[in-house]
């Protein structure tokens, strides 16, 4: 992590490149970063100078970060302490005016900082939200005596755009899982008049957040989004489509357990519950920890954490072809109901047979017992 003293030594209105220079990032490193980000955003290489120029001259945008019902995993992902990366520096070089997990200030001073930042940058600041918003009562998530929903509505009013970091803010996530005791909802159910980018994942890939920020700084506009409000460039393809184990799926070679020969050979994890075929994210391409690996690379199936309702879609270890119904009692009751209906139908038929026999209609009189 960057020493706190260094971080504080950068003036809040300093251009980004100056801030990076203080951290020891060379111009060459900066240009390499611009090329990487341009490539990640699937932009033409001709735009690299434009990205670099925009970032060099960019004033650090004011960012207000509101964490609500969350586990801090998203913050941990972005500010991860494993290595100091240029993406991390970019992220820390924004003017993060309010983030109650990271900031030193607390109580009234912290809330005052938020109010000041909002007033100073009204209509221009970026609002980042992680965590879902409870509607079940103010007591579930209250900050400085105000409900999460109140704070969100107030902060959203002056925001240029809202970036929902993590599946909780984007889709409700684990707090909204059945039976959803706090009546948690995603940001998009409360704020409907502002552009919203959903960067889903539990947690999301930090580079994706960086790339969205760079896109905003460079072009002043949000990236192209999919039907769930996620940047298409990162969420346009399923993990399965880009998985290095895909050839094994095509051949029907599956690991049957986590320690069998198939698992050791790196075969497809479909039978072990991998949700890669229905999960859209960049894990298989961008990967984690500086491009080191991703869950499937580590031998565990994808749990589909970038998709809405992933927590309520049956067992993580149930294959997609397995239905998540195990109601044997209901099935047994159904069988009992079937016997009753069948017996009733037979009874009716018997009556008809009797009537027919009595009338001698079917010529079978006397044959019935």
């Amino acid at each position: 992590m960057i020493p706190q003293a260094d971080a504080r030594s950068i003036p809040t209105d300093a251009p980004l490149l100056d801030a990076l220079a203080v951290r020891g990032v060379s111009r060459r490193g900066f240009v390499k970063f611009c090329a990487t980000i341009t490539s990640m955003l699937a932009l033409s290489p001709e735009l690299i100078p434009q990205v670099a120029q925009a970032l060099q001259s960019a004033r650090r945008p004011s960012v207000i970060w509101l964490p609500f019902q969350e586990c801090t995993g998203c913050t941990e992902s972005i500010t991860r302490a494993d290595a100091e990366t240029i993406e991390q520096l970019i992220f820390e070089a924004i003017s993060l005016d309010y983030q109650h997990t990271l900031q030193a200030a607390a109580g009234t001073a912290a809330e005052q900082a938020r109010q000041d930042a909002m007033r100073a940058n009204w209509g221009q600041y970026l609002l980042v939200v992680d965590g879902s918003v409870p509607l079940g009562g103010a007591g579930f998530c209250t900050i400085a005596g105000r409900s999460a929903a109140d704070i969100l509505v107030e902060a959203a009013r002056g925001a240029r755009a809202i970036i929902c970091v993590g599946t909780c803010a984007a889709f409700g996530g684990i707090p909204a899982a059945n039976p959803n005791p706090t009546q948690a909802v995603p940001v998009s159910q409360i704020v409907r008049d502002k552009p919203i980018v959903n960067i889903s994942g539990c947690p999301p890939i930090p580079n994706v957040i960086t790339a969205v920020l760079v896109q905003l700084l460079t072009f002043g506009e949000l990236p192209q989004l999919d039907h769930l409000g996620r940047p298409k460039v990162f969420y346009g393809e399923s993990i399965h489509d880009r998985c290095y184990r895909r050839p094994f799926y095509e051949r029907g070679q599956f690991a049957e357990s986590f320690d069998d020969e198939g698992a050791r050979q790196g075969w497809c994890l479909y039978k072990l519950g991998c949700k890669g075929p229905v999960t859209y994210n960049a894990c298989a391409t961008v990967k984690w920890n500086g491009g080191t690996s991703f869950p499937i690379g580590a031998g565990h199936g994808c749990i589909g954490c970038a998709e809405p309702g992933f927590w309520d879609r049956g067992g993580f270890y149930d294959a997609l072809s397995v239905t998540h119904t195990d109601n044997l009692e209901e099935i047994a009751l159904a069988a009992g109901a079937g016997v009753a209906v069948g017996a009733a139908a037979a009874l009716l038929a018997r009556k008809k047979q009797h009537a027919a026999a009595r009338a001698g209609d079917d010529g079978a009189k006397g044959e019935l017992p």
Binding site: P277, G314, A319, T325, I331, G338, G342, A346, R350, L368
Partner: protein, 223 residues
């Protein structure tokens, strides 16, 4: 709830429930139905004759009768071919194994996907050929009713949607999860229809053949 969540959850539950209710309903109806009393003395006492007669009929009705062999060979053997292909696809595709295992609590090795895919394609081709033939053949057309159309189409649908899901074809621009959901729903539609249409021969076919053979043998007739 997404379409896939519905297909994997409540959709499958209700389809399975209706399947069970339907099968038990129709079977118990047959069991509780008043059976004709046999007044004639059996030709041969004991159980050996009716059982052997029943088994004989099951076997004999499973091969084309000699007199009609020339006329029905194509339909007969293509019928076998697609039935076998359909069940090989269902029972031996790797992606189906977890479902089978979750229901039966045991399973078996799957065949290579390439093998199953070839069998599936052949099955689909035969089924479509037979259906087109049914539509064009003047006699078959006469004896075809709505039950046949529904039964055939519901048998074909899981194969078509299954191949699309397996190959990740985006039918009409649909995403994979929607195609997979449609595949599951097509299977669920088949499950719901099974007890009420002609596909119920899946349950009663061998039983009725056996009973007919046993009854005929009791009367000294080879059926």
């Amino acid at each position: 709830m997404t379409l896939l969540d519905f297909a994997r959850g409540p959709g499958f539950f209700w389809a399975f429930t209706i399947l069970i209710v339907g099968i038990v309903w129709r079977l118990s109806g047959l069991v509780f139905f008043r059976w004709r009393r046999e007044l004639a003395t059996p030709r041969e006492p004991g159980l050996v004759a009716p059982v052997s007669g029943g088994l004989r009929t099951v076997i004999m009705r499973s091969v084309p009768p000699h007199e009609l062999e020339k006329n029905i060979t194509f339909q007969h053997f293509t019928g076998y071919a697609w039935h076998i292909g359909w069940f090989v696809t269902f029972l031996f595709l790797g992606a189906h194994q977890p479902l089978i295992r979750s229901i039966l609590h045991f399973g078996w090795p799957n065949l290579p996907n390439g093998v199953v895919l070839v069998i599936t394609a052949m099955t689909l081709g035969i089924l479509l050929t037979l259906y087109v033939r049914r539509l064009l053949h003047p006699v078959l057309r006469l004896i075809t009713d709505m039950d046949d159309h529904v039964s055939v189409l519901l048998t074909i649908a899981p194969l078509v949607t299954g191949v699309a899901a397996f190959a990740h074809w985006s039918l009409f621009g649909l995403r994979y999860e929607t195609v997979l959901a449609i595949h599951l729903l097509s299977v669920e539609a088949l499950m719901i229809w099974l007890p009420f249409g002609k596909i119920f021969h899946f349950v009663t076919g061998l039983i009725t053949r056996f009973r007919l053979g046993a009854e005929m043998m009791r009367r000294g007739v080879r059926a």
